[in-house]
Symmetry: C2
Subunit: 135 residues, 2 copies
Amino acid sequence: MEASEILRNHKLKKTSPRVAIIEALQSSPLPMGEDEISSMMGSHYDRTTFYRSALTLEEAGILHRIVIDKLLVKYALNEGRHNNAVRSNHAHFFCNHCQKLICLENIHPGPYRLPEGFQSQASEVIIKGLCSKCN
Amino acid sequence: MEASEILRNHKLKKTSPRVAIIEALQSSPLPMGEDEISSMMGSHYDRTTFYRSALTLEEAGILHRIVIDKLLVKYALNEGRHNNAVRSNHAHFFCNHCQKLICLENIHPGPYRLPEGFQSQASEVIIKGLCSKCN
DNA sequence: CTACATTTGCAACATTGTTGCAATTGCAAT
DNA sequence: ATTGCAATTGCAACAATGTTGCAAATGTAG
């Protein structure tokens, strides 16, 4: 789906940084860090704008932010292409050797049985190890 | 168990920062951030030393470092008291309101069925939401 | 007690992210 | 198409967490 259509579907203004972020992520098979997105977006790139745009897109459910470790954050698009189907929660695998982050679409963690009175709003599963290429 | 005994068991030198970190964490029922540990350790506190000591203790399996989100990291002791029993993997709950991190000792995620050739070395489950007090 | 490897403390720097504010831009209404 | 105005951007400054290099201090084995 085109970036402008995604933005329109979520009633967000079509601005160049938003379009650029979406297109950068669409062009990559794997989640990317800010550094990678930045280099794809070229010179006209402001870090504050990136963070604010990414936050807006995250709040709209368009993208997903995964914190692997301090100083290591990756972004991925939620491929909620099929109408507004909320994408099912899935685990992430981080390769300690090649530093790639891979979405494990077929691992659906939870639901978790929380203690009385606790309410879950989001959850994240990160499995670290060696991927098939580095093993 | 006393800090000095823990260090001896792991063949680590007994140094004052290490002892202070262990005692700070022992005195708290919840994992703490660097800021909290720092204020418990008083003035003679160097951030570099803290990070290096925490890393040493983590590598020895004495403590556990949980990244909740960028700019929000908590540390907890692995209570591997009973000999060298590796503490079973457990999930963490982070309250979006009061910012407390709670170990959910009775939620044991995994094992996960990884794709062919992948090898798991560690995993982390963070559930975010509202705790019973803030709900 | 001594030797020596380990650890600490300091300074400088790196990465990721946030806040305030003025200037610009997208878009809806005319 | 033009205009008005809220939303967004870009810049500067700052915040939190963490790393690296290196000289000085410290723990401990012998």
